[in-house]
C-alpha cells in the first residue's frame, strides 16, 4: 500500500530523517518506537504528506503523495494527532462530521451518507453520548476518542496515530487498541508512533525502532522485541521478561533508582 524509498526529510535546512526505506500493506499494524527526538513524529508527518521530502519519495498505491492534491491525499491517509486544538463553540458531532471534509462536494454540505458515517464512527469510539457536547468541555481522554472518531470518519485505508495512548487511562488504552486491532483485521493499515513498547508489542504485527533519524531495527514483534534491540534503541539496559503466567513478553528497564527497585521488606516504615 505505502512504499517509502530513500526518504530524507526535515525542517528547513535541518535533516531529521536519513535515508528511510519502508513498506506497509493492508492488514498490518506497525508500531514505530524510539526516544524523544529520534524522528518518529517527523516520519509520521512525512507519511501524511504534510512534510515534503528533501529527497526520496513516498508512494501510496503507486502514486507519489507529494504530487497528490491535499484533498485526495486526505481521502487516503488519516492522521490522529497527539493533541488537538479545541476550538470554542464546536460540538463533538460537528467535529466528527468535519472528518468528512476530503469527501465533500464543492458546496461543502454534509450528505445523509456523511451523517451516517459520522454516527457510526461515534458509535465505534463510544462518543455518541457526547455528540451534543462542546469540545472545550471534554476531558483529555474523551477528546482523544473524539479525534479517533473524526479520523475514522475520514474513511481512509491508511491510519496514522501519533501517541494514541498518551492522554488516556490504561483501561481505555486497551479498549482503543482493541478497536485498532478490529480495524486492522478489516484490512486497514495502521501505523502508530509509541513510547509504550509493551502496549505496542501486544498489538503490533511489526515493530520499527528509530534512532537519530535512521531505522535501527524493523521486523515481526517476536523477532525484534528483544533485549539487544531495545537496549540499543533506548541506550540503556532493558530486560525482556517472559513468564509462564502471561503469553506475552514484558520489557522493563534493568537499571533503576525508583522505589520499586528497593526490596519491600526494607522499604517498610520502621519506628
Amino acid at each position: 500500500m505505502i512504499h517509502v524509498e530513500s526518504l530524507f526529510a526535515g525542517y528547513g535546512p535541518n535533516t531529521v530523517l536519513h535515508g528511510i526505506d519502508f513498506d506497509a500493506d493492508h492488514g498490518e499494524h506497525i508500531s514505530v518506537l524510539g526516544t524523544n527526538g529520534s524522528g518518529k513524529t517527523t516520519f509520521l508527518h512525512a507519511l501524511s504528506g504534510l512534510l515534503k521530502p528533501q529527497s526520496g519519495r513516498i508512494l501510496l498505491f503507486g502514486k507519489n503523495i507529494a504530487e497528490m492534491p491535499p484533498r485526495k491525499r486526505a481521502g487516503q491517509i488519516a492522521i490522529m494527532p497527539q493533541r488537538s486544538i479545541c476550538p470554542p463553540g464546536i460540538t463533538v458531532r460537528h467535529a466528527v462530521l468535519l472528518g468528512r471534509y476530503p469527501h465533500l462536494s464543492w458546496l461543502g454540505t454534509f450528505s445523509a451518507k456523511d451523517h451516517e458515517i459520522a454516527e457510526n464512527a461515534m458509535e465505534t469510539t463510544r462518543t455518541a453520548a457526547l455528540a451534543g457536547r462542546m469540545l472545550s468541555e471534554l476531558s483529555g481522554g474523551e477528546m482523544q476518542r473524539v479525534m479517533l472518531a473524526r479520523t475514522l470518519a475520514q474513511k481512509t485505508p491508511l491510519i496514522l496515530l501519533d501517541e494514541p495512548a498518551a492522554h488516556i487511562d490504561p483501561a481505555y488504552a486497551i479498549e482503543l487498541f482493541d478497536l485498532l486491532e478490529q480495524l486492522r483485521r478489516n484490512g486497514l493499515c495502521i501505523i502508530t508512533v509509541m513510547h509504550d513498547c509493551n502496549l505496542a508489542a501486544l498489538y503490533a504485527t511489526r515493530m520499527m525502532g528509530m534512532k537519530n533519524g535512521k531505522i535501527l531495527f524493523e521486523g515481526p514483534v517476536n523477532t525484534v522485541f528483544s533485549e539487544a534491540c531495545l537496549s540499543e534503541l533506548y541506550s540503556m539496559p532493558v530486560r525482556v521478561l517472559r513468564t509462564a503466567e502471561f503469553s506475552f513478553p514484558v520489557a522493563v528497564p534493568a537499571k533503576t533508582c525508583g522505589c520499586s527497585a528497593v526490596p519491600l521488606s526494607v522499604a517498610a516504615p520502621t519506628r
Binding site: K72, A74, P81, P87, P88, A131
Partner: protein, 347 residues
C-alpha cells in the same frame, strides 16, 4: 441537532427580515421631514412598481438619491465589515482580528489624507482639474488600502508560508508606518486636519449611488470567494497542521481569504472611511447565538452587520440638528462598545 438547526434558521430569518424592513424604514430619519407613505410609494416607483405617488420632485430626490442610496451603502458596508471580521478571526484564529488588522485602515487613511491635503492646494486643483474631489479621495483611499494589504501579505510571508503570527505582526508594522505618514501629512498641512480627522472617523454624509459601483466591484468577487470557503474556515479552526491533514491547502486558502477580505474592506473604507467595531461586535455576538459553524455565521454576519450600520447611520444623521452629523464610526463604537462588553462579561 434538529432543534439547533431550527433555532439557527429562525434567528437568521429574523435578521434577514429585519434587514429587508430596515431599508425603507431607515429612510424616515433625517433633517427633511418625510412620512412613511411618501417613502413607501416613492421607493415602490423606484423599484419599478406603478404605485400612485404624489411626492414632489424634492421629496423624490431626497428619498431615492440621498437617503435610500445612503441606506443601501450602509447595509452593504456593514455586511462587508462584519463578514471580513468573521473571516479574519477564523483564518488567523485570533478573536481580536478585525477588518483593519492588515493595516487597511492606516493605508486607506494615508491615501485619503494625501488626497485631502493635495485638494487643499489651489494650484494643484486647478492644474489637474479635480472638481470631483470626493471621488479622488475615494480612489486614493482605495489605492492606499490595497497597497497596505499587499504590503502586509508580502511582509507576512515567512519561510513556513503565510504564517498567521507573521501576518498579524506585518499588519502592525504596516499600520504603524502609514499612521506615521498620516501624522506627517497633518503636521505639514494644518488646514486639512479637520477633514482628515472627520474622514478617518467614517461617515456616509454626501455619499450616494455613484459610490455603489466601486463598492460592488471590490466586494462581489471577494464575497464569491468567501462564500465557497465556509467549510474551509470550519476546518481551519483546528489549526494549520490538522487542517492540512484533513485535506486543506492551508497556505493557498489563507492567501485567497486574506486577499478577498482585503479587497472588500478596501472598497468599503474608500467609500465610507474607517468604521470600527462592526467587524468585532457582530461576529462575536453571532458566535454566542449561532455557535462556530461558518455557514450560518457568514449569512448572519452579512445581514447583521448591515442592520447595525444602517441604524447607526440613522442615529448619526438624526441626533444633531441643523444638518450636522456625528461620524458613524463614533456611533458604532458608542453603541457596540458597551453591548460587546456586556456580552463578554456574561459569557
Amino acid at each position: 441537532m434538529t432543534s439547533l438547526k431550527q433555532k439557527d434558521a429562525l434567528l437568521l430569518t429574523l435578521i434577514g427580515t429585519g434587514w429587508i424592513f430596515s431599508l425603507p424604514l431607515a429612510c424616515l430619519g433625517g433633517p427633511y421631514p418625510l412620512d412613511g407613505e411618501t417613502i413607501w410609494r416613492t421607493l415602490a416607483n423606484f423599484a419599478g412598481l406603478s404605485v400612485p405617488n404624489d411626492a414632489n420632485g424634492t421629496q423624490q430626490l431626497i428619498i431615492t438619491n440621498i437617503r435610500f442610496a445612503r441606506v443601501c451603502l450602509a447595509a452593504v458596508c456593514g455586511g462587508i465589515l462584519a463578514t471580513s471580521g468573521l473571516c479574519l478571526q477564523g483564518v488567523l484564529r485570533n478573536p481580536l482580528a478585525e477588518p483593519f488588522t492588515l493595516g487597511i485602515s492606516a493605508g486607506a487613511a494615508c491615501g485619503a489624507s494625501l488626497a485631502i491635503a493635495l485638494g487643499e492646494i489651489p494650484l494643484l486643483t486647478a492644474l489637474f482639474h479635480m472638481p470631483q474631489h470626493a471621488a479622488f479621495i475615494s480612489l486614493s483611499a482605495l489605492s492606499g488600502a490595497l497597497f497596505a494589504v499587499f504590503a502586509a501579505l508580502w511582509l507576512g510571508r515567512s519561510r513556513k508560508g503565510l504564517d498567521k503570527e507573521h501576518i498579524i505582526l506585518a499588519g502592525i508594522a504596516v499600520s504603524t508606518f502609514f499612521g506615521a505618514l498620516v501624522a506627517l501629512v497633518k503636521a505639514l498641512n494644518e488646514e486639512s486636519v479637520t477633514s482628515i480627522v472627520f474622514w478617518i472617523l467614517g461617515s456616509f454624509q454626501g455619499r450616494g449611488w455613484e459610490s455603489m459601483p466601486l463598492l460592488l466591484l471590490a466586494s462581489l468577487p471577494a464575497l464569491f470567494v468567501l462564500a465557497f470557503r465556509w467549510r474551509t474556515l470550519d476546518v481551519l479552526a483546528f489549526g494549520d497542521v490538522q487542517a492540512g491533514q484533513m485535506g486543506i491547502d492551508v497556505g493557498k486558502n489563507r492567501f485567497l481569504i486574506l486577499v478577498a477580505v482585503g479587497c472588500m474592506t478596501a472598497g468599503c473604507v474608500a467609500v465610507a472611511g474607517v468604521i470600527g467595531f462592526v467587524g468585532l461586535v457582530i461576529p462575536h455576538t453571532l458566535r454566542l447565538l449561532l455557535g462556530a459553524a461558518h455557514g450560518p455565521l457568514l449569512i448572519g454576519a452579512f445581514f447583521g452587520g448591515g442592520l447595525l450600520l444602517v441604524w447607526a447611520d440613522v442615529i448619526a444623521r438624526t441626533t444633531l440638528t441643523g444638518g450636522q452629523e456625528i461620524p458613524v464610526g463614533v456611533v458604532t463604537a458608542l453603541l457596540g462598545g458597551p453591548f460587546f462588553a456586556l456580552l463578554v462579561k456574561q459569557r
